[in-house]
């Protein structure tokens, strides 16, 4: 059984999103997805710029897989988790805490509200 915390929102591309308030949202890779990928060895971050829902924000690489992560809604990147550049495996060790990827900003909360709940995500990955 995967670790899927309540209170977060989820995407079909396996990102989790947390509402930080003030229009800021933190996102990362779900426990389930990091387990599928194996040890993450590199993270490529986006620039601090605007993205449209579905745009590729950056890339995560394990040894035999590479997965992009996507903008869950129209947003601007506010900051990235610099710590991952030296220690990308934090995504595996602490996918919902120290392994967060980026924080994005948006004025429109509807995108966030439309994402999957923990229960829906759990169903989506077949658990």
């Amino acid at each position: 059984m995967s670790n899927i915390p309540e209170g977060l929102r989820y995407t079909e591309t396996h990102e989790w999103i947390k509402d930080l308030g003030n229009g800021e949202y933190m996102m990362g890779l779900t426990f389930y997805a990091q387990e599928q990928m194996g040890e993450i060895v590199m993270v490529e971050f986006p620039g601090i710029q605007d993205f449209t829902s579905g745009d590729i924000l950056g890339t995560l690489e394990a040894v035999k897989t590479a997965e992009d992560f996507y903008a869950p809604f129209n947003c601007k990147v506010a900051r990235v988790n610099d710590g991952l550049e030296d220690e990308p495996a934090l995504i595996n060790e602490s996918s919902y805490e120290k392994g967060w990827l980026i924080v994005v900003k948006t004025d429109d909360p509807s995108g966030f509200a439309g994402l999957k709940s923990a229960e829906e995500y759990s169903e989506f990955i077949g658990e």
Partner: protein, 493 residues
């Protein structure tokens, strides 16, 4: 093992060169020169040391002449020894590519005839021998297709349809050719779903790219329907010929509605793989595409001479010179040795060998697409073993302990824990039986003593290697160190 750099000691030489026999010219200006002290960092070792080093390294390789190499989609068949000698005949190996064609009449005649053979085998009219490998053949094919659409005033056609089971080079080539990949789903039989293809074709369809037999080793039985759907939508059909070893003298891509295909001479036509290359990926095509073939093409003139010429609307060149000519020599030799009956026999036995393995292994491993005969290869799933905690990767590694190379693993992507097995026609029944025994034995180990499989390999020159460390602590060149310095103390140049 030590690296060749660690054999180095100042003053040692591995060659003897004649003295300079002309007066020396003035030195290069200092700003352009590496300087008299400018080292290149090459090792200094004797001929004997160098030979011993590489001979010792060679013994750490598995290879076709040592044992079975059932690597799916790679067609690891026996490489005839004669062909190595033929390609080394001085008149063929010692000739500059830019000599006037009349001075290279032998090479040109061979190339011309090889082109004709490949057209006959594939059922096409035009051919280019230039592509250096399968992936470059794919690029060549897509460039032909794009040129064709542009010539018809349809430059918008930029979508390449391909099944989800496609080899990775197919989508990568589409990107290189500035096209967009559109995935087509496979049905429950592991074949392209014609309905999905029908949904995906449209006014932007440039081509449908298909490997046939497909990467599951299955012949696309509805091929006529598939190629017609694409033609009706104004697109063309490209066959990835990686699996042509199944079809020699049995069927021709040109008759199934394909418009262009590449061949892998280093698979089907027995030229050696060389540890990853050189290959050769000639492209054959219908008449309508031939005008766009890359430069140069070999032409037979009325006087019986051969020349190199540029096709009227050639899309360009792929290599500085004509082709991986030395590889062409070997493929020509193979076709001349076997003739029509011999080539047909290749495919017949390749099919029998593969179906025999499939039948014998069926009780021990899952086969998700076992709906009748396979062609020259088949794909098993290690799902049953995975339940015991033994993954396909472990099975692959355990096979190394038994003296076999592993099958292709985790491909195609549509099969869980995939094991893609291609025995080729050059394996004897006795060797196939030994492989079957090894596979059955591993299946039993997976149930009874799984650690034997998950700890594998143990009988190889090195144990399982840490690929995560290889990426994280990236070391892709030998650091420079002075004599007497311990490994790791040096710095990069």
């Amino acid at each position: 093992m030590k690296t060749v750099f660690e054999l180095s000691s100042p003053g040692r030489m591995g060659v003897s060169l004649p003295e300079l026999d002309v007066p020396a010219a003035p030195d290069l200006p200092a700003g352009l020169s590496r300087g008299s002290e400018g080292k290149t960092g090459l090792p200094e070792a004797t001929e004997g040391q160098v030979l011993r080093h590489y001979v010792n390294l060679s013994t750490m390789n598995h290879h076709v002449d040592k044992g079975m190499y059932p690597l799916g989609s790679c067609t690891m068949k026996y490489n005839p020894k004669l062909h190595e000698n033929l390609a080394r005949i001085r008149g063929l190996s010692g000739i500059h590519p830019l000599v006037p064609p009349a001075l290279a009449a032998g090479s040109l005649e061979l190339m011309y005839r090889l082109g004709e053979f490949l057209c006959e085998i594939t059922g096409f009219e035009g051919v280019s021998l230039q592509p250096a490998a399968g992936a470059q053949g794919e690029f060549c094919g897509l460039m032909l297709i794009k040129s064709y659409h542009e010539s018809r005033g349809e430059p918008n056609r930029n979508e390449i349809l391909m099944p989800d089971s496609a080899h990775g080079t197919n989508p990568a080539t589409a990107t290189l050719a500035d096209c967009i990949v559109v995935g087509v789903e496979s049905n429950e039989f592991g074949l392209v779903d014609p309905d999905d293809l029908r949904r995906k074709v449209g006014p932007n369809t440039a081509a449908f790219m298909l490997t046939n037999p497909n990467t599951l080793g299955l012949f696309e039985s509805r091929i006529e329907e598939l190629t017609s759907i694409v033609h009706e939508a104004g697109g063309l059909n490209y066959m990835d010929g990686a699996n042509m070893n199944a079809l020699l003298g049995i069927a021709k891509p040109g008759e199934m509605g394909f418009d262009v295909c590449h061949l892998n001479l280093h698979k089907t036509f027995s030229t050696p793989h060389g540890g990853g290359g050189p290959g050769s990926g000639p492209v054959a095509c219908i008449e309508e595409l031939a005008a766009f073939l890359p430069d140069p093409a070999v032409i037979l003139e009325d006087d019986g001479g051969y020349k190199l010429c540029r096709k009227q609307n050639s899309f360009g060149r792929l290599l500085a010179f004509h082709a991986n000519t030395g590889v062409l020599y070997k493929a020509y030799a193979y076709i001349r040795t076997l003739g029509a009956a011999g080539l047909r026999e290749v495919s017949e036995i390749a099919l029998i060998n593969a179906n025999y393995l499939k039948a014998k292994l069926g009780d021990y491993f899952d086969n998700p697409f076992d709906n009748g005969p396979c062609m020259h290869e088949f794909v098993l799933s290690g799902d049953r073993q995975a339940e015991q905690g033994v993954k396909t990767l472990d099975i692959a590694k355990r096979l190394l302990d038994y003296g076999f190379h592993a099958p292709t693993v985790y491909f195609p992507l549509i099969v869980h824990e995939a094991l893609m097995i291609e025995p080729t026609e050059t394996e004897s029944l006795e060797d196939l039986d030994s492989f079957i025994e090894a596979m059955i034995s591993i299946a039993e180990e997976a149930e009874e003593k799984p650690y034997l499989v998950t700890d594998a390999p143990v009988n190889t020159p090195v144990l399982r290697l840490d690929e995560v460390k290889a990426v994280k602590d990236l070391c892709i060149v030998e650091p420079v160190r002075s004599v007497g310095q311990a490994p790791g103390e040096g710095e990069n140049l």
